[in-house]
Symmetry: D2
Subunit: 328 residues, 4 copies
């Protein structure tokens, strides 16, 4: 059985998903696409052999669509997710689940009322081979009980209009999902602080910043965020256990010795870094959809959990860095 997929949003993320589905995922066909910008949708459709739907809702309703990917603007996630649940079609929604906590909660409730197992969230780190190897080693007890996690997340340059808040909800949100996933323990408390800001951001924007998390197992996690790091897209994670540590290595494949330097390269953004993760995530999703099995991806409940932690981080940000309890 071939899963016929409709993709809402044909910008960078959506177009990447389509290419990955067409090259690296068995048993999938991209049949219909839709985008706010009709011209973009038509260009992608022409390249991929898909048909263009009038809009996302029409795509969801289309009889040639078995399953849906929502890769459109964050502000549209809520309405498309609700529409897909109503249509009873399995859906992979890019993070965040929805812009507000109330919307996330509404989606989770609607999905549960519909019988569950419809929504999957695009927290692709869960499929990154480095992260899965970290998790396997933690679970195997290689380093003993985990005591600390130290993460760093750095982008080359922030989007125009980026705020201290949006760095949490757009970037750090990945750690807000991956940390409890790695530990098998929910985040119960969060704090946020910042020091000297880069001269590259407008006054009032905090970059870099430091997010602190406490999970139910007592582990303290710190996440260094720097959205204008300039030097490269860089993601680091060290997990300290009672008797040892685990760290992601530099993923570069080739070292270059030139001009009195030995160097490896950083990518410009997250996409080359997580290329394998996206392919494995899409493959796992398509297999589960085809088999009618529970999604192996993050669920709507996970998406809601991450958004609740983000909310606590923002509260701390606005209240002098105090520790804030995460809503359950």
């Amino acid at each position: 059985m071939v899963v016929r997929i409709g993709v809402i949003g044909t910008g960078n993320m959506g177009a990447d998903h389509i290419r990955n589905l067409q090259r690296f995922v068995a048993g999938a066909a991209v049949t219909v696409v839709a985008d706010y910008d009709q011209a973009t949708a038509e260009a992608v459709a022409a390249e991929s052999g898909a048909r263009v739907a009038e809009n996302g809702h029409a795509l969801i309703a289309d009889p040639d669509v078995d399953a849906i990917i929502i890769a459109s603007h964050d502000s549209t996630h809520y309405e498309y997710a609700m529409s897909a649940i109503a249509a009873g079609k399995p859906t992979l929604c890019e993070k965040p689940l929805a812009p507000t906590l109330a919307e996330c909660e509404e989606i989770v409730a609607a999905e549960a009322a519909a019988g569950g197992n419809l929504l999957s969230l695009g927290f692709m780190r869960r499929f990154d081979p480095g992260h899965t190897e970290l998790k396997a080693a933690i679970d195997a007890g290689v380093i003993g009980p985990v005591l600390r996690i130290t993460g760093a997340s750095r982008n080359v340059v922030s989007y125009p209009g980026t705020t201290s808040e949006s760095m949490i909800t757009n970037s750090v949100i990945h750690e807000l999902d991956s940390i409890p996933w790695l530990l098998g323990s929910p985040v119960v408390e969060a704090a946020w602080l910042a020091g000297r800001a880069s001269s590259k951001v407008p006054a009032g924007v905090a970059d870099p910043s430091l997010t602190l998390l406490r999970t139910a197992d007592g582990v303290l996690t710190s996440v260094d965020m720097y959205a204008n790091a300039e030097y490269g897209y860089d993601l680091r994670c060290e997990v300290l256990g009672e008797k040892g540590t685990l760290s992601l290595t530099d993923p570069a494949l080739v070292a270059v010795d030139l001009g009195l330097k030995r160097s490896t390269s950083y990518p410009l953004d997250w996409r080359p870094r997580f290329a394998a993760a996206y392919r494995l995530e899409l493959g796992a999703w398509v297999s589960a959809v085809a088999a009618g099995a529970p999604t192996p991806l993050a669920t709507a409940v996970d998406g809601l959990a991450a958004s609740r932690v983000a909310d606590a981080v923002l509260t701390s940000m606005h209240e002098s860095g105090r520790w804030v309890t995460v809503a359950r």
Copy 2:
């Protein structure tokens, strides 16, 4: 269009190809399998949903088979390759093309007589992301004209019955293809030498050994082979250019600090190391077959070239390490 694939040989290599085709390659279906050991074939068929053919020739003739993978014992490559050419079906043959030079030449001639572009050779390094990045950097002139290549190929333990000769024809053969591919220049001369042998090999077997190659562009390449390295499956390559060097990095994804050591892990054999390469190779092959396009894999002519170099290396081995001209 889905390419229906028949796989001859369902041992480790063939079974891996089937799993990869079914998970990571769009547009392919494994329809028929065959193996010398009928029970193995049936087990793989049951798992994959394919049908079992009576033998390789029956599989080649099967109307449900559009394209063929030959992953059976080296000694059978010649007859199946000739049969597939006669049937006019695109075929991916694991290396070596055939055990003898005469057979390789016969296959190349038969394929040419049949109009060409039927055979692809499984030199998967051409699809390894590290190797393709090396080649791209060479071609971009990053290090200037290449002057030297230093390679090392190490296995944990050799198969029973491994000889000094079979280490060349089974293992070093990969470098005999990848070096001229990296350089865009054929190997014109080869030599072989060895020093102290491991106590783990029988008397008369040389392990480790050193193979020297000279390409038409004058570049001198040395390949260190050690089939009983014990410490891990390890593949190294350094390319020295006029103004810099390129090297493959340690591909491990996670570092572990434990017991007064900081370490990364080696795999037990080549399969984890080249997992991505196999997937990309199969995907590229299936796409080309579907499109009727020229194969982007190594061709029968490349396979013959590598075998001719291997032949020169063996002559050097038997004639005191003298430099031997490669037949054209």
Copy 3:
């Protein structure tokens, strides 16, 4: 001119200093030693050719002693430092300057009253080639203005009786000196927090812990302390600037590939890690003493500053992790 040195305290640290002076420092002679344990003093004296003084005060007064090293128990630093100042002899005191802030202040005042430039503090990181290269790169503006520092300090096992407080005053104290030294900016505020504790420490002891520092330039520094890390003595430091980062590398000289691992070794304690630093520190001190020049080591004022920050960290520890202003 040969500087004749008296060493008070001939335990591990003092004995190391004597060996370093005798092998790697030109222009120095160890003439007199003293120790609480007379037998230890005599053994070291026999090996080094020095004479044994009755006690530290006798050593300070000895006419064959031009300059003094205080490497005895922390609790004795105050009295020997005061005695050395009274004698007007240049003195290298191991950290801490003294156990209490009041004593540190008294020493600083006494030294100033005596004309200054008598005391040097053994914050050897200022002479570690990795740290001096970090500082040089910061000062050269390689990464732009510094925004964040992330440090980690890990010991294999803590001494019996180690407390949450003593990990700060004995171990983290090094960062409390090196961070303002690296940045050229004093620490103005500090906080302390901890999460899940290792099962290896008694109830009530926090290990690992996280110390946060804010320097006058606004830079936020975090120092991860884990006294029972088991995996090795490990010291890490990353300095994040506006446009790049600087990090200390793994200082191991040899990689070993064995048993499916590629590894480097950690030392059991800080002494191999800082062997070069100690030699360079002693050499710089002896040269300055011989020349009557200002000490290039940390001064008593630096030692007082570090102790004041430690005091703020302990206050935070005892007051729920709140940010505490450092006394000036």
Copy 4:
């Protein structure tokens, strides 16, 4: 007792030795210097507080000189070494012992006739912490019996007038000493070959080149020499044993992430790379001289051995790369 040292040759190498002796070696005093260029000698003397001798022979005879360092031009080594032997004064001679084999043999015979233990050779790699750790691990059997050594020696740019031959006698000569030292087995056979030459060297000069050595224990060693590598001064060594490998690591202390690269730095020449080795070598030599103990450095016999291997390499170079037996 202070060893009073006279230094012949106050160019880069000699001046470095003087600075090292004056800063990092206990028990040594540089009392007299001499140089072909009187002005250079006077400048160095003024800086170091030494006296200038009229020439090397006067320095050797000087009553204020207990021991001698010969750091003058290679062409003068023979006469000064013979003169120092005649004077019965311990002497550290920079490599090579002498330009011709006949001279080396004459020096060895003269030293033996004088009772031995006068000459030490400046093969400083024997004191490089990385190399001594390699040797200790080999001797401890960490990797089992050694089977292969792979070395690479690269300079940024060659001196004007450098020839294929001088790269062996000036640079590869270090490996011709360090390999038998590491293995505890003399080189019995050598060969030389080259491929495509850099466009930066004059026609007829081979750069890079590959030197092959066979030691009495059967181990095959290859040494890659590239005198115009441009990218940095780089020295690599991998020792392959039956069950594992040992490799020198990248000795850089700080990693820099900047401009889409993560990099470490190469030095411009060998001096920063071997700074610690030179200090340790000088210290060990001075200690042995002071104690009248056998030199722990390479001896004149070692220097002769290395020159005999160099001679065999040059013969191979001039005779089509054939294997040449080393004279004993």
